[in-house]
Amino acid sequence: MNKIVLHGRKVVGGSAEGEAMVTRDRISGWGGIDPRTGTIIETRHELRGQSFKGKVLVFPGAKGSSGWSSQFHVARLAGAAPAAMLFNEMTTKIALGAVVTHAPAMTDFDRDPLALIETGDWVRVDADRGVVEISKK
């Protein structure tokens, strides 16, 4: 089995696993997702219409409204949050959003997760140890 291991920095602790959902587009929270279902709604987003509920969301970072955290907060309460979040660009929107989503989150990787993880791969995230294990689909 083809396994890849990435190392990075813990943003929010904990461990989780799930199917990867990967995008090279940054994600808007408020006005970019429907938090009741975890669906991307931004008009010109490559994942428009798809839900990240229960997925390991792999993306460059956050953009748009300061309502980012509150939308992911609502998604958690609605049971539609991602299982884990892996991203490259640190901003206050994503840091706070990750904190209130209560799901494991990591950044500052030794290699680019966007280049190594594809949608559908199975990903285990151990944020406390700073390790991501990828099983290719």
Partner: protein, 419 residues
């Protein structure tokens, strides 16, 4: 504060700030006495939570402003705090299709937050109605269009805070010392060479929409701006750049306070990249922001994103006076309630209502999800609203100048084109 000596709410607030600061990799917190936040319970989703929860508004504050599932009693705020948008305009509940219970919740929230010491400015543009940070002032603001204005135009220092971090800052007077609080992160990264005239607020919106998409969350520096833009133009520019991208700070060489010239804007360093903005880029931005517009029949014209200045209301009144909005079209204009008082006094509210339009306060269509019933096609003069309204409300949106929008309100047809 973290040990609970200042009470359970302050303890929860510090706990959140510590978790958030560690997530960022911040070394410490900084004192702030200027917080802007949405705390109210009238926004979609949260209003349902408030209605269902027996502990009411303390429960809403605990969960949504402190990330605490345990309900704590909320004390008076420590830091000077201004309220941003609400979910409704209680004075236009009928037009906005808002139920009486929601107006009651709004009123309940008003007395709750007023008693806590929150200033109920109820606008996305606090800098228009008295909260004007001084250069160098550490702030904890939400609202991306206000954050970018605070950093870039006023020289205040804030990151784009969220509901929970701003809630914690209110109670503690602290926020992570990270990002735009530090000199090094405020310097320009990308040079934007402008080789056309940028005139109207719509032009500035197009420029912002283009630049935001190109630089994402970096710091653009505009060069070649020939006329000093006013408040409304920079309000529309910043709102657009923080919607198509995540821009929280920019400089305009020779105009904004940390960019007397290009050298100061870049802190003596070289730009990472240089972009050009000419007629072709302007056209591309116009096409992108109009990507959902198809049908010429316009049901709804929405102005006031970000909330209109009194000058913008005056401009609309001059275009509208003595005419009637088309029978099949609605015209709603949003402004802070403090500015509406001036509009009332100036006779502008009467000009708008006599024409069949409405001057509304406190919220906007995208934020409150409030539109005339049955709206399929909207027209706006805000690139931000054109970006969000179709995604949130499932409508088509046309973007054009203020004059294009007023024309659409009068005729019921979209005739705007790139001039």
């Amino acid at each position: 504060m973290l040990d609970g000596a200042k009470g359970p709410a302050v303890q929860r607030a510090m706990d959140l700030l510590v978790r958030y600061g560690e997530a960022l990799g911040a070394e410490r917190l900084v004192d702030t006495n200027n917080v802007c936040a949405t705390v109210g319970a009238t926004t979609p989703f949260i209003r349902d939570y408030a209605a269902q929860h027996p502990q009411g508004l303390d429960a809403v504050f605990s969960e949504f402003s402190l990330d605490s599932a345990e309900v704590v009693k909320i004390p008076k705020v420590k830091a000077y705090t201004s309220h941003l948008q609400q979910g409704i305009d209680p004075a236009h509940a009928a037009e906005q299709g808002v139920a009486a219970e929601l107006v009651q919740l709004y009123r309940k929230g008003e007395s709750y937050l007023g008693a806590l010491g929150v200033q109920l400015l109820n606008t996305c543009t606090p800098y228009q109605v008295g909260n004007v940070p001084v250069k160098g002032e550490h702030c904890a603001w939400m609202e991306s269009s206000a954050v970018i204005y605070c950093n870039s135009v006023l020289g205040g220092r804030t990151n784009a805070e969220g509901r929970e971090s701003a809630g914690a800052a209110m109670l503690t007077g602290k926020i992570p010392y990270w990002g735009y609080h530090l000199d090094d992160n405020r310097r320009g990264t990308h040079l934007v060479e402008i080789d056309i005239e940028v005139l109207t607020t719509a032009d500035w919106g197009l420029l912002g929409y283009y630049v935001g998409e190109m630089v994402q969350e970096r710091v653009p520096v505009l060069a070649g701006v020939r006329r000093v833009p006013n408040l409304a133009r920079l309000k529309h520019f910043g709102a657009a750049a923080s919607s198509s991208g995540g821009v929280e700070m920019y400089h305009i060489a020779g105009v904004t306070p940390e960019a007397r010239d290009l050298d100061e804007a870049f802190g003596g360093a070289k730009p990472l990249a240089t972009l050009k903005y000419g007629a072709a880029e302007r056209k591309l931005a116009w096409e992108r922001v109009n990507s959902t517009g198809r049908d010429a029949q316009v049901d709804f014209v929405m102005l006031g994103c970000p909330h209109y200045s009194i000058e913008q209301i005056w401009e609309v009144c001059q275009l509208l006076e003595g005419q009637r909005v088309h029978a099949d079209t609605s015209l709603w204009i949003f402004t802070p309630s403090a500015i509406k008082q001036v509009a009332d006094r100036n006779g502008y509210t009467k000009i708008i209502t006599d024409a069949g339009g409405h001057l509304m306060t406190d919220t906007c269509s995208a934020f409150g999800r409030v539109m005339p019933k049955g709206t399929k096609v909207a027209a706006v003069d805000s690139a931000k609203q054109a970006h969000y309204l179709p995604a949130i409300m499932g409508v088509q949106a046309w973007f054009g100048t203020t004059a294009d929008c007023v024309q659409a309100a009068l005729t019921g047809r979209w005739s705007g084109r790139l001039a």
